[in-house]
Symmetry: C2
Subunit: 138 residues, 2 copies
């Protein structure tokens, strides 16, 4: 994710130890942490980082389009660093595990004009639910 740090610096983002740590924590595939989980992991690397800073930084990353907010469970928002390849989510109904998925077709095209109520529809978010292999065998 050093390319992320590069991109951000190129946009005039002021680099601080806290922001670097947050970006590092978010690195990887199939990462979908809540803000407090990000904070917990960040603290192990930078003990004095505050919760407010993590929230602020996550909010900025979302505004910059580098990270997506995901509302798959109905509790906390989760943050998904995989913002540059469009994808949807598959969530385990029991344990909450989340995988990124790429369905066929284009759901946007499946919403006829008669069902758009005059909206300018620009985006669609698909959440599949099921039971993951671990929970099924338990």
């Amino acid at each position: 994710m050093s390319d992320l740090l590069e991109r951000l610096r190129g946009r005039g983002w002021r680099m601080t130890a806290q922001r670097r740590v947050v970006a590092e924590v978010l690195d990887g595939e199939h990462v979908h942490l809540t803000a407090d989980e990000v904070h917990a992991r960040a603290v192990t690397r930078l003990p004095e980082i505050s919760r407010a800073t993590v929230y602020n930084t996550l909010g900025e990353l979302v505004s910059l389009g580098e990270v997506l907010e995901v509302a798959t469970d109905k509790r906390a928002k989760r943050y998904d660093p995989n913002a540059h390849r469009p994808h949807h989510h598959l969530v385990c109904a029991r344990c909450g595990a989340i995988r990124d998925v790429h369905p066929n077709g284009n759901p946007l095209a499946d919403l006829p004009d008669s069902e758009r109520f005059g909206f300018a529809v620009s985006d669609v978010e698909v959440t599949y639910r099921g039971v993951c292999p671990d929970c099924a065998s338990a």
Copy 2:
């Protein structure tokens, strides 16, 4: 929605003034209230109804399959009484207005086995986002 009350009574649901009021508040099409909005409206009809009762009653209606929980915005859960006709949602990105929509096709079929990660996929939820006519003209 008196048919709802009938159905519930038929299932041995004990009828109380509070439950009746909650069910009445939820009546209608394109209704997607948060729990506290339901409480606010219920209070106008039954001033002493408590927040806990509204939460309990909504939870029971969800368990009974009479009302759906919807997580379209990332704040509070919303409750959708339109549980008997499957549908998805179209949300205004500015004002949060929500409409029920019925897209073509079956998104479940669009998730190939190779993208299921061994999950037993049982459900899919589609949220379209855009700008509603009111917000577009403002």
